[in-house]
Symmetry: C2
């Protein structure tokens, strides 16, 4: 790809990330993305083919990569949850894009192979740690991974009603709630 | 309200529930709602004023009421989480509508008073149970309510990638994971 087309593509991905995080696929406007990226609709369709394919490119560039760059040590699931929380706090677009993906795109798109594979790797690693007695086996490996991911997203999933009730705990406090809760699941 | 207009209004709410659960507000089509309810767009605007107001009516009729009809005994938070899970399983529209609400509507709409009030009541009840020594106080009342609500929604928040990895646990198994996880938070 020539340098100027690569730069255009990158500007489009960046503008589309903001647009889709805010409005989702049905609500996202290709015109607004084109304008914010100093491009035009024809160029978007030339590079990506469709609004859905542009969303997939954004999702892959941000969410899939963010998910995979946080590594998991099966003997430190609280630490893993804490680092996932750090990522959600640093990049609020990630949880919004993941939520839009679940609602608007997942069924049509089908499972993303790289995510399935990395989940299976994590489940295997948890299973081995359980067999070696390094982790309690009250929950199955898949259940333990699910609970850890769910708790890591505790604060991103809350409604504004809830935020108006539970305000007051800062970053460190919210992080501690998550790591303590995962640790509680692991007590023998 | 006359009987026939009440019946029309009910058909509209029912059709709008399906449409908004599937497509959200931006993606939902007033034409499709009108057709499914054997009504027309003019009638929808007459009864509800706008697409957003129709969404609010749906949300209030289903999600706000579903949230409030599950009562909480502070000394049985695992049971409360289990009954919330039962509700999500029985009415999958509830979690989808709640997710659309968070993404598309909450900021503009502002906190829903009845939900804030019922959360504050629950937090008070948990705090009293902690003071009476009936509940451990490792987590604050608001944190404990948040964690319980988060864990109750464990399976609704998962992506299709995850479902393709973790299939196999039936209704009872998934319910047990939730109630066991909440119980683990409460062990001294």
């Amino acid at each position: 790809m020539r340098g100027d087309s690569r730069a255009t593509r990158e500007r489009l991905i960046k503008a589309a990330t903001q647009e889709f995080a805010a409005h989702g696929i049905a609500g996202g406007r290709v015109e607004r993305i084109a304008k914010a990226a100093r491009s035009n609709k024809a160029q978007i369709y030339h590079y990506f083919g469709s609004k859905e394919a542009l969303f997939d490119a954004v999702f892959d560039a941000l969410v899939v990569q963010a998910t995979q760059e946080v590594t998991m040590d099966p003997t430190d699931l609280p630490g893993y949850a804490g680092r996932l929380f750090d990522g959600y706090e640093r990049m609020p677009e990630v949880s919004r894009l993941a939520a839009w993906y679940r609602l608007e795109r997942a069924e049509q798109h089908g499972p993303i192979r790289s995510i399935v594979d990395s989940s299976l790797d994590k489940i295997d690693a948890i299973g081995r740690a359980q067999k070696e007695g390094k982790l309690p086996d009250r929950f199955s490996p898949a259940e333990l991974l699910t609970l850890t991911l769910t708790l890591a997203a505790t604060w991103t999933a809350q409604t504004p009603e809830y935020h108006s009730v539970a305000r007051g705990s800062g970053y460190a406090g919210r992080r501690r709630v998550i790591t303590d809760a995962v640790a509680a699941l692991l007590r023998p």
